[in-house]
């Protein structure tokens, strides 16, 4: 389904399109937004921008040509910025500056790439395939990789994610980073990419190095942020294999990761709010104080590591099966190493929280249902998406349909 709207510059129109990929992304956004809505009210500015970001994310999902995609993508970058610095501390402002510098540079690269592509091929709608100079694709890929937090340009993630309010961290990690990966998928939908060895190398390095750094990070939310960098690099890794099944896995990983990481960040927010815990080393006995919260945290962690039958396993399996089919052994090894690293940085948290003695005893302080339910819902989604992966209409089916539409 397509709808072509205004011509905003000569020959380029606003163009909306509803296909499997977009539906999956938009639906993910919708549900994740529902999960982050409950919780303490944070004022007019916050609510308004939260709603605006939602609309813009839907715009990213439903964009029908490259220009529309970039437009919503960049507006989303800007709309998220006041949310990141919502707490107004000096740290938050510094993180916001860094975030802006990164995403705007990325946006500039994207615009330049769009200009190159437009000169060569005109209006690039997502229903067609076009021939464009390699430079254009490289610029676009580089621009998207800023948001996708690939290694040399990941710097905004570990600063911005921990500093934002918990729901915003959940959205940033769940969807903001994913918009970069989403853009890359849209790219290879319309143009034949140059050899992607560099993308493979970069994303492989990202998976491994970010994972290693995560194991060495004590700050809980920062560790989760590094984990996002590591985990979301699966998607470009899967893209770079150029296999349809791997691509489907990459697409479905966006959705699965969104709920898992979103849930984890919400848990981290609850821990901070109710127990004042910011650091992993302070988490001893946290599970005894907040058993439900930490139960969800544990389940989501296991999902992220890829313990079957949770959703993280499904995406890893599908990506891995595609890589094995394509004979891409190195990416496959990296994929599994990423899972091992995920265990290395997540399991100590879980273990400490459940089995280590708490620094001080206290009553159970699980949050009230309105804030607890989203976390439990994220955990439930992780289970359902894992067990029911093959059901029609579930993310995997949509992702496979999308990958079929993209070809390979």
């Amino acid at each position: 389904m397509e709808s072509i709207l205004f011509e905003i510059v000569p020959e380029l129109r606003l163009h909306l399109r509803f296909d499997a990929l977009g539906v999956l992304f938009s639906a993910t956004a919708g549900i994740l937004w529902l999960l982050v809505l409950p919780g303490p009210r944070r004022g007019r500015r916050y609510e308004a921008l939260l709603a605006l970001s939602f609309v813009l994310t839907l715009g990213v999902g439903t964009a029908g040509n490259l220009l529309t995609l970039l437009m919503f993508y960049e507006l989303l970058s800007l709309a998220a910025w006041p949310l990141i610095i919502h707490d107004e501390t000096a740290e938050a402002l510094a993180a916001g500056r860094r975030y802006l510098a990164y995403v705007l540079t990325g946006a500039a690269m994207l615009l330049l790439g769009l200009a190159v592509v437009t000169l060569a091929a005109g209006d690039v709608g997502f229903g067609t395939r076009v021939e464009v100079p390699a430079l254009g694709i490289v610029l676009l890929l580089a621009g998207f990789s800023v948001k996708a937090a690939l290694l040399p340009v990941h710097g905004w993630v570990p600063q911005a994610h921990p500093i934002a309010p918990a729901p915003i961290s959940a959205l940033l990690s769940g969807l903001m980073v994913a918009t970069g990966s989403f853009g890359m998928i849209r790219l290879i939908q319309v143009m034949d990419p140059p050899p992607l060895a560099i993308l493979t190398g970069v994303s492989a390095l990202t998976v491994v190095l970010a994972g290693v750094v995560a194991t060495r990070t004590d700050h809980l939310k920062r560790r989760l942020a590094w984990s996002t960098i590591s985990q979301m690099a699966y998607v470009p890794l899967a893209i770079s294999v150029l296999d349809r099944e791997a691509l489907a896995g990459g697409i479905v990983h966006i959705t699965h990761h969104a709920f898992m990481k979103g849930g984890l960040f919400l848990c981290a927010g609850l821990l901070l709010h109710h127990l004042g815990i910011r650091h992993v080393s302070r988490m001893g006995g946290a599970a005894r104080r907040m058993p439900w919260t930490m139960g969800a945290f544990t389940l989501l962690s296991l999902g992220l590591i890829g313990i079957p039958p949770l959703s993280g396993f499904v995406s890893k399996w599908v990506i891995g099966a595609g890589m094995a089919q394509a004979g891409a052994w190195i990416p496959l090894t990296v994929l599994l190493t990423g899972a091992l690293l995920a265990a290395l940085y997540l399991m100590p948290i879980v273990h400490t929280a459940w089995f280590d003695p708490p620094p001080s005893e206290g009553p159970q302080v699980d949050p009230p249902p309105p804030t607890l339910i989203p976390v439990l819902a994220a955990a439930a989604i992780t289970i359902v998406l894992g067990i029911g992966a093959a059901l029609p209409g579930f993310p995997l089916a949509l992702a496979r349909a999308a990958a079929r539409g993209i070809g390979g």
């Binding site: 500015r45 705007l104 437009t118």
Partner: protein
Amino acid sequence: MTTHWLPALVAIPIAGGVLVPTMSRRWAPAWGFGVLIATLGVALFLTGLLREDTVSYAVGGWPPPYGIELRFDVLSTFAVPIALVAALAVPFATHSNEPVTTPEGVAVILVGTGGMMGFVVAADFFTLFVFLEVLSISAYGMVAMSEERGAGLAAFRYLLMGTVASIVILLSVGLLYTLTGSLNMADVGQRLPDGGLPLHLAIGGLAAGFLLKAAVFPLHVWLPDAHATAPSAVSAILSGLIVKMGIIGLLRTPGLEHLHELLIWVGAASLLAGALFALVQDDLKRMLAYSTVSNIGLVVLGLAVDRTGATVHILNHAIIKASLFLAAGAFIHRAGSRRIEGTGRSMPLTTSAFAVGGIAAIGIPPTGGFTGKWMIVLGALEAGRWGFAVMILLGAVILALCYARFVVVVAFRPSPADREGTSEAPLVMLVPIFVLAALSVGVGIIGGPFAAFVGK
């Protein structure tokens, strides 16, 4: 096609301005507003006619090239933003009791508007020069009216530089006349010799004068002081409209293609220098002024690679920058001084409009700032000038950081304790700000047809 509405476009504001000093202080702004709305109606009417054909009017019935000719062509559509911004600036100023709302102030604005109208519709170089003087002198007056400290000095500096520019332009016009024997633009364009020192001198002189009027780096030194010390409503007129006259002059200059190489470098330098200067400003209006320098640089660069894009951009930027200056004026009005930290907390609507204006100024689609910038980038790429395309985007990134910085200052810094009870800007300020902000997005959404219209 010919119509008497064309001279009326110039005559209405000037006549209206001349009549203002006869009125009471109370009615002057209303009168000014009415006159400017009427002018806006005429400008819109003429723009509508333009869809069929260029409108031409021979003053006194003397046919060109002998008589004075007024022509309303695509470039003259700038009359619409002129009338609009000026019309909105007047009511905006009333609430803060700025000196521009005195009968003298309104008169200066009206006469200046008339001068700009004459400038954009002039079809021969001497008329062009005359109206340039009319609008420049009005502009000096507008700056001098400010009660800010240093306004007098800024105005004097502006006057000096402006006069130098005027003299250079006048000399060049004379030189052109001796070269071609005509002052009518169409004639001059046809009779231009292929080369030679005199031609280069003439064109170079014209370009230098107009570049100075347009405040291109390094000839921009008069601008920040003048724009920053002027009352905010005036700043909107200065930054949005009057510096653009220099660009329109450049667009009218024949044989500009001889200077493309110069323009592209000067433009790029101005683009980056303006952005960098803007980055280090601590005062919102100074930042906006330097942002104007940067945008003018973009347009000058665009003159060399894509004239249509440059034209589109001056039209859009006029609206965008006016909305930003008006929003800044609202902040300053509520803060009571230039220290505007935290004023945005109690002024969410103004802050939103400021943010929208900032986004448009950076050039994010689908705002007006994007259309022209995009066309210029495409033009640069098509011409094989990669580096300049990169510079344009780099400049946009730096400007984005500038605007973000002031969003932080306005909305994220704590407001001083003695200013707790501030409230949203009054309606008479909000409406102009929002009209302009909405327009700056609106012209972007219809950017394609708009550019096609301008490129005709």
